[in-house]
């Protein structure tokens, strides 16, 4: 059966949902969302609050910069530059879950990048961050492969991600980041 975004999202219904966005990601939307999120995490410790905010900024900007645009001819249920961002809470801690569509070439690159990040310990991640920061060329917008490294460092846990087959060379990329108080 084909991958269904809503079914995937329903898996998180058991947790307390603090914030959910589904749809087209824009710069204004990111600003508005971050405002809302700050008021939803008032119970969290200062430290956790900062981590949540930092990780959410990176995640939403990843969605903004890297999502593929789905066809708008009606051949798929979701259309355009579609993304999901969810902040939830359960007994383990806070969870930031994102989903967006990407194409095969991006999947191959991302898959390699993420498995490399997950193979590193804390100090190795720090070294990788500094190496990318100091030695690698950035794109004209200032991005350059630091986002996921930073997310992994801030969360302190391995990145939990999956690529789901969606439609004709498009994959749904899901990422779940845990922030423990």
């Amino acid at each position: 059966m084909a991958f269904d975004v809503q079914e995937w999202l329903d898996n998180y219904n058991k947790d307390e949902i603090l914030f959910l966005f589904k749809g087209e990601i824009t710069g204004t939307l990111i600003t508005d969302s971050l405002d809302k999120i700050e008021s939803k995490t008032e119970d969290a410790s200062n430290k956790a609050k900062k981590k949540i905010y930092n990780v959410l900024v990176e995640c939403m900007q990843n969605l903004f910069h890297h999502s593929s645009v789905l066809p708008t001819d009606g051949s798929t249920k979701e259309q355009g530059k579609y993304g999901i961002c969810l902040l939830s809470k359960n007994s383990v801690g806070y969870h930031i879950t994102t989903g967006n569509f990407i194409q095969k070439k991006h999947k191959d690159f991302l898959s390699k990048h993420l498995s490399h990040i997950n193979s590193l310990d804390k100090d190795e991640l720090k070294d990788l961050y500094k190496d990318i920061l100091n030695n690698q060329e950035f794109s004209e917008k200032g991005g350059g492969g630091l986002g996921m490294v930073d997310i992994s460092r801030k969360s302190g846990s391995k990145l939990d991600y999956k690529f789901h087959d969606y439609h004709k060379g498009y994959y749904f990329f899901s990422l779940n980041i845990k922030i423990v108080e």
Partner: protein
Amino acid sequence: MEPISIAGTPKTPTVQFDSGSGKVEIKGRSIPENSIEFYKPLVDWLENYLSTPASLTEVNIQLEYFNTSSSKCILDVFKKLEAIYKSGNEVVINWYYEEDDEDMLEAGEDYQSIIKIPFKMIELED
């Protein structure tokens, strides 16, 4: 040189650069989607300042949040300051972080290990 004075927004920091007093300050949040657009004029200003810097340049960086898109631009700012320091002028960098914000302290230490200028880590109490 004309000073730079930019008011902060929800996504960009407050900036005060003054060649007369040698003060360079960046405070607040730096999370724009396109950070190069924001930081290019600051880096250009420092490039000009490099030819006639104050005898002491005091740098205050007090960021609440910054995204990875800003992190490279902030490094570019520090590299200009490093050039001022290397040409024999005094430069002091004060890196402020909020109490318990280990991530921000660590971010400062990451820069400190790349840039050869004395950093002072200053914890702000609540």
